[in-house]
């Protein structure tokens, strides 16, 4: 069996290595990423059409908005699936074997707790900065959301999962995750109601006090905020469920 697996891996690897010969060189002018009609349009027109300096954010949240919406839905579904598989409502009703070692000290460590208390506000502000500044620098909803989720994970690591659950309870997690999707698809739906295509943001200038170009830029921020909501909630919920075997009590 092992030999068969090795053969499969080696064969697939050789096939992939063979295929890399057909790739264009890094930064080559003929590569589809540099020479294609679509990417040329993105590179030349993004600044004029949306006023967003960071092309990646514009493509992610505007031109390929539909794609990103379902990416967010995938994250949401992953979070729901983790809860469905791991969540343990009774006391050990799932019948998991007991944890390996549970010699954790009762009291959280003072130095770690104090440092986390110092770092977490800065981390959360930086996450919001990353989220809101995604138009101008690398960043956006996914990165900002992951950092915001990491700040809650840090609280859980320093003070225990229960302390973090007091700040972001399971109810709030589910609400936040669903709200993110609602914000995203709601932005698209408003565009639809105003008589344009789904997620065609420029029509939002009718209800926002801006011109169509800036409306696209602002709508990207709404959409990214939605992504950040979902990602934050899902990241923390995955950690909380995995670290406590679904009981959301005690644990790591």
């Amino acid at each position: 069996m092992k030999g068969l697996a090795l053969f499969a891996v080696a064969f697939t690897g050789a096939l992939l290595l063979y295929a890399t010969g057909d790739f264009p060189d890094w930064g080559s002018l003929d590569s589809p990423a540099n020479g294609g009609e679509l990417s040329t349009h993105y590179i030349k027109e993004v600044r004029k059409e949306t006023e967003v300096p960071n092309i990646v954010t514009a493509v992610l949240a505007d031109y390929r908005g539909f794609d990103t919406m379902f990416e967010t839905v995938v994250v949401f579904v992953a979070g729901i699936a983790i809860i469905a598989v791991l969540r343990d409502f009774g006391n050990g009703s799932r019948g998991y074997p007991p944890a390996l070692a549970n010699n954790l000290p009762e009291e959280p460590d003072l130095i770690v707790t104090q440092t986390c208390n110092l770092v977490i506000p800065v981390l959360q502000i930086f996450a919001l900065y990353v989220l809101a500044h995604g138009h101008h620098s690398p960043g956006g909803g996914f990165q900002g959301g992951v950092m915001l989720g990491a700040s809650y994970i840090l609280i859980a690591l320093a003070n225990g999962v229960e302390a973090a659950m007091k700040i972001l309870s399971e109810r709030k997690i589910l609400l936040m995750a669903a709200t993110g999707i609602l914000i995203y698809s709601g932005t698209g739906l408003v565009c639809l109601l105003l008589g344009e295509n789904f997620l065609d943001y420029h029509v939002l200038s009718r209800i926002l006090p801006t011109d169509p170009i800036m409306a696209r830029s602002h709508a990207m921020l709404f959409v990214e905020t939605g992504v950040a909501f979902t990602v934050t909630a899902v990241m923390f919920s995955i950690y909380a469920n995995l670290a406590t075997r679904g009981t959301l009590k005690g644990g790591l």
Partner: protein, 81 residues
């Protein structure tokens, strides 16, 4: 793109991936996965794909390592094969 730096990164990538597969201690394996993610993040940053590098640093090297360590803590530390 600097070829020498690229080659060093790629060699380290291969080495860390082999270690992550071969090591029996799953805690060590998840740590090596963190190193692997961080090397990929460096590779992307070096190819000026900063957005992707940022995501990889936050998700791959940061949160998923923590999640894997939490999982190892709640299950078995030794791998069976």
């Amino acid at each position: 793109m600097i070829p020498a730096f690229d080659i060093i990164l790629l060699v380290f990538l291969v080495v860390t991936s082999v270690i992550a597969l071969r090591v029996r201690d799953l805690l060590a394996a998840s740590m090596v996965f963190g190193i692997y993610s961080f090397l990929i993040c460096l590779l992307w940053a070096e190819m000026t794909a900063v957005d992707v590098a940022f995501t990889e640093a936050a998700v791959g090297a940061g949160v998923s390592t923590v999640i894997m360590v939490a999982t190892v803590y709640q299950t078995a530390r030794r791998s069976k094969d």
